[in-house]
Every structure is written in structure tokens, then in C-alpha cells.
């Protein structure tokens, strides 16, 4: 089948592609302090930008596929292995595993585009727009607090919250996925800067604390 051949070819091409912070992979490994604060890149996540009125008919059709659309700043709606982040009153970002992309045999974002149909709104494949850096560990909050003005205290920023803000002076989405894990989504061109910025901020935790 032609489709299968195209898919095989597409999978072959995927092995050649490079993620925005791939050249920092070794630095992330040496810069991570096991059990204290660790940094890695989660490459090639499937992302789709949704611009639709959540209360409208098209918004309901998209929401049915994604497990609902978030209603307020910070809210993340999950449906299966996908998550929808709130970026604005009518702007959302869908994040899904890399394999969900149609070029790897998945169905995104085609199913969303089909669900939107002629409806008022927009579904755009943004998988290459941002990359994902995952910062985890008990000191992850201390690292972020050096460059993020938001209140990151767990009392305020709960797991399962994503906010669009500035980290280290650049715009990025900060997504707290669990108590000690943060996903940071900078645009691809900022990946190197933010990666190195985080490495620098993590450096003090590699040495024992001076009392």
C-alpha cells in the first residue's frame, strides 16, 4: 500500500531529524545532579495550536476529542495521553506524545482538523514550534525561582497547572506536571539559551551546601 510505504519513508526521515536542544544532551546529563535536580529534553512532542471559542459549536466538537477545553488561566485538560493547555480565552495548546503525530502513524492533528471542519476556528500543527525541557527533583523549584517571577510555592502552583510566562527573561510555558517535575516549553530558537541558562542555575546544587 502506498500509505504504508509513505509511513515507512517518513519514519526513516524521523531518525535523521534533530531536536532544538539535541546538541545539549550531553551537557544536560553531566549538569544533572541525581536526586537533587535533573534536566532533560523531551523531544518531538506532538503539539497543535487550537484557536476556537470554547463555548461555540466548533469548540464543543474539539473539546469532545480532547477531553474538554480549559476555561481559566493555568488549567490543563487531559484526555488519555493528550493534554490541552490554556494559553488565552480562545487559544489552547494540545500536547501529545511524539508517536501521536500522523507522520509516525498517529492521527494528530488530522482528527482535530477534521473535527473542526468548516467551523469557526483554527487547528495548526505546531510540533516544531516549541521543544520541551523537563526539570525535575526536589530543587527544581529553587532553580526556576532564579528566573521566574511567579509564585512557585506548591500552595499556589499546583501540579497539573500550566502558565504562559517569562523564565530567564524569555517567554515560555511553564507546566507543572507533578509535585517536583516541571515541563518548560520555550520556542525552538530559545531552546539553547534556556537550556544553558538552566544548566547555569543548576550548577550550585552539584556541590554540598555551605552552611
Amino acid at each position: 500500500m502506498a500509505d504504508t510505504a509513505a509511513l515507512e519513508n517518513s519514519k526513516k526521515i524521523q531518525t535523521l531529524r534533530k531536536s532544538p536542544a539535541s546538541h545539549l544532551g550531553a551537557a544536560f546529563e553531566t549538569g544533572s545532579v541525581a536526586g537533587v535536580v535533573e534536566l532533560r529534553e523531551v523531544a518531538f512532542l506532538t503539539m497543535a495550536g487550537l484557536r476556537v471559542d470554547p463555548a461555540g459549536e466548533a469548540g464543543e466538537r474539539l473539546g469532545a476529542l480532547t477531553g474538554g477545553l480549559p476555561a481559566v488561566s493555568g488549567e490543563v485538560r487531559s484526555g488519555g495521553d493528550t493534554a490541552v493547555l490554556w494559553l488565552g480565552p480562545a487559544e489552547f495548546l494540545l500536547v501529545a506524545p511524539a508517536e501521536s503525530h500522523e507522520s509516525l502513524g498517529g492521527s494528530l492533528p488530522r482528527t482535530l482538523i477534521e473535527a473542526l471542519g468548516d467551523g469557526q476556528g483554527q487547528v495548526v500543527d505546531l510540533s516544531a514550534n516549541r521543544t520541551t525541557l523537563e526539570l525535575s527533583g526536589p530543587q527544581a523549584r529553587a532553580v526556576l525561582e532564579k528566573g521566574c517571577a511567579l509564585d512557585l510555592h506548591p500552595r499556589v502552583l499546583k501540579p497539573g497547572t500550566a502558565v504562559s510566562t517569562a523564565i530567564g527573561g524569555i517567554p515560555a510555558i511553564l507546566w507543572k506536571t507533578s509535585e517536583e517535575t516541571y515541563r518548560i516549553l520555550p520556542r525552538a530558537s530559545f531552546a539553547e539559551f534556556l537550556g544553558r541558562w538552566l544548566l547555569d542555575a543548576m550548577r550550585e546544587f552539584a556541590t554540598p551546601e555551605v552552611p
Binding site: S73, G88, P89, E91, A149, V163, T165
Partner: protein
């Protein structure tokens, strides 16, 4: 640094926002009928208020939405944040009255 309460996102640092100039400047009904002077005044002439000033702001690093704000240009006190298209809310008497600046600070004598 101002701490601005975005109507969508809550309080955020001023650096996340962009200033959009004076609010409530209506587009002329018939731009073609204006004289050059009136058109230039619409384009370029803005109030330079000392005290409460209605201005537009954009939360560019957050929700990317515009909103209006009443800010005191003397004290930087933010009096109100309200959506685009809404009329300017009435301000209380907290506005500082500018009284006879006999010798303005920093004035060269």
C-alpha cells in the same frame, strides 16, 4: 516594577506586558472628511495627564489579550482594570489634586 492584575491571568510582572497608549480614542466616523490637521490630531495628539489616566495594555507574554487600565501617572497606583470596549469607570476622590506647584522638584533655578 508594577504588579499588574491581568483580567485573565491574575497579577503578573510589568515586564510581561506592553503599553498601548491612551485608551478611549475613537476612530473618526468619516476619516475622509477630516482636514489634515484633524487627522494628525487623531493620529498623534494624546493627553498628557498628571493623575488618573486611562490607558491600554497588552499581556503579551501571557494570554495575549488587551485590556484597559486606570493608572495614576504620579503615584503609579493602579485604580481599575477593565475589559476593552467598556466605558471608563468613575474614579473616587482618591485622585491627587495638583495644587500650585510653586517650585517643581528638579526644576532648574
Amino acid at each position: 516594577m508594577l504588579l499588574i492584575s491581568c483580567p485573565n491571568c491574575g497579577p503578573r510582572d510589568e515586564t510581561e506586558f506592553h503599553y498601548g497608549g491612551q485608551a478611549h480614542v475613537p476612530y473618526p466616523e468619516n476619516p475622509a472628511e477630516l482636514t489634515d490637521r484633524e487627522w494628525a490630531e487623531y493620529l498623534f495628539y494624546r493627553d498628557n495627564t498628571k493623575g488618573i489616566f486611562a490607558e491600554r495594555w497588552l499581556h503579551s507574554t501571557g494570554c495575549r489579550q488587551w485590556f484597559n487600565m486606570l493608572r495614576d501617572t504620579v503615584t503609579y497606583d493602579i485604580q481599575a482594570v477593565y475589559p476593552m470596549g467598556q466605558l471608563r469607570p468613575a474614579t473616587g476622590s482618591t485622585a491627587p489634586t495638583v495644587t500650585t506647584p510653586a517650585s517643581p522638584e528638579g526644576a532648574i533655578k
